[in-house]
Symmetry: C2
Subunit: 346 residues, 2 copies
């Protein structure tokens, strides 16, 4: 057997909630790394991270950081991606970008490996990772889309605070402790750090993720609408979303109603999902088994349950879709794209 | 001005989460009480509760407890209502029952005062209070139902643990503390106390409220389906529900998609809701104002926001409906029915 090829990998945003998961996955999955470069902002430069028993020193991300890099995994915010991804491409790296910077760029494929890996193979240097809430939904719906077609999707989300980063995790934990202790909860981060108004997330549900657009939907909701169309390569799929932050640390849950284009048999739907890559069916209501955010935490799969026919619409189907938003929703989908690119070359 | 008539009122289930709110409301609203009788199980008999500065001793609820009672407000579980409500009626009391015991009984009106107070006036001794998640939804949809008609409703709920009683509140608070302290969370109550499997609610979302029916929906979900039809007196209204418990103590939130029968103007919808009794519109997305469970706690109203047109269906409308599940969802709706009956007699 030939020696396995190895690659120089850069992680941009190595100190963030997603960046940390990327590093952990590269280690756990024994990604074929020649050299790992951990890039962050200037104020984190010089800190060290342990990778496979070795200390790796964080470097400040600059346009010249990417010389010799094969895969550059970005998760340091949209403005960093906008600024540095073109430099990474110039140096010959394949960029897999976890921010929203390039998602709707017609020259950039938006990829969930289980759905449209073919699009990734046609990249021009940058591949975009979809929004977390979109990824888990389309991964679960893909086998139904292929078999029956999809007319419309109405989704309400139950999203974990980790989707808003480490500061939001800290806020939920701090507020929870304060409320339990009978103190006032301090609100500084959620729903959107940069906006003026902040609401308590502990023991609450906030129907705002990202800023509002003119049509009354938030950007997070519009991401689900537009990204779903782009990933399926089908502008006719109608999505309406309500995105809600709830006091969960890890794991997004989604209540999904889907109208298929054809009549369906529920047993066939279950069988299709059971055989779908990356999807695990947890659906035994009489044993009270269904996907839960706490069970999905740390897992790479998308979990699906509460499968049931709509009571009225003959092609209507309800389901409950749960996945770890930092993993399949972000870090794992990114690393998985890199793994699949390597496999496709082999 | 004539002396105001006063009434003998019994609260059955006086120690429960809802019973306590009923007593508080009777006091705060200065309900015209001649004598207040607080009834509970045998093990609570002898305890005292303060009402308007007086100690009231709890008595064990028996068939003869209702002699001379004008209004008997029940919230001690369906089996207690089944057993004792007929005795209260025999003694001449009007029963307003907060349990599910009589809700679908064709001889018992199921009442939300803002929607169908006329049904309450035609009672035969027992009036049923709908399920909490139904009440707030139909109260908000009533003006739209009257003006445009409703074809279908697809609702996903974000329900507070107080809907499952004081033991569920304690469980959420205990588990939250344990998780924050890095301890294992003990699960004994939720999702359904009497069922064998319990799941962690702290920092989680449980897509099960009440037990499952054969069609894959839970009883809680089917309550929303069937009670909505009965309250509107219209079997053609199609409801599909996904009911989810989240780590919130007080206040149910609902993501509601509704398809009206006629085209609508969003400004007219807003105006109708602003003028609807018991409904408060909180809908200024650019100022990040929308209903929140924490804001609704302790309030009697139903709060509505996130009003927006569906992106695809011309008669589709999305909204976010929040109310205190122990108040409008239970204790207040019950006391309100009694108040309205008194007004109707005057």
């Amino acid at each position: 057997m030939a020696n396995q090829l190895t690659y120089n990998v850069a992680v941009v945003g190595a100190t963030g909630a997603v960046g940390q998961q990327m590093i952990r996955l590269l280690e756990e999955r024994n990604f074929p790394i020649k050299q790992l470069k951990l890039l962050a902002s200037g104020r984190s430069a010089g800190k060290t991270v342990t990778f496979k028993g070795q200390e790796v020193v964080l470097e400040e991300a600059t346009p010249e950081s990417f010389a010799g890099v094969d895969f550059a995994l970005f998760s340091a915010g949209g403005s960093v991606s906008k600024e540095l991804a073109p430099h990474a491409v110039r140096h010959g790296a394949i960029v897999i970008d976890n921010t929203s910077a390039y998602r709707m760029d017609p020259d950039v494929p938006l990829v969930v490996p289980e759905v449209n890996m073919d699009a990734a193979l046609a990249h021009k240097g940058i591949i975009a990772n979809p929004n977390c809430s979109t990824i888990q939904m389309v991964a679960a719906l893909k086998p139904l889309y292929d078999r029956f077609g999809i007319d419309r999707i109405i989704v309400s989300t139950y999203q974990a605070v980790s989707g808003a980063g480490q500061s939001a995790i800290n806020e939920l934990l701090d507020q929870s402790r304060d409320v339990l202790d009978g103190k006032e909860a301090e609100c500084r981060v959620l729903p959107v750090g940069k906006l003026p108004v902040h609401h308590q997330i502990a023991f609450n549900a906030i129907p705002q993720i990202d800023v509002f657009t003119d049509n009354g939907f938030t950007y997070e909701e519009m991401k689900m609408v537009n990204e779903t169309k782009k990933i399926f390569g089908d502008d006719t799929v109608q999505v309406s979303a309500t995105c809600v932050r709830i006091p969960v640390v890890y794991g997004h849950s989604e209540s999904v109603y889907v109208e298929l284009k054809q009549d369906y048999d529920l047993n066939e739907v279950r069988a299709l999902l059971e055989n779908a890559p990356g999807v695990v069916v947890v659906d035994a209501p009489q044993e009270q088994q269904y996907p839960l955010a706490t069970d999905a935490t740390g897992k790479l799969d998308v979990f699906v349950g509460r499968l049931r026919r709509d009571l009225h619409h003959p092609r209507g189907l309800h389901m409950w879709i749960v996945s770890d938003n930092l993993l399949k929703g972000a870090a794992w989908n990114t690393v998985q794209i890199a793994e699949e690119l390597i496999k496709a070359r082999a």
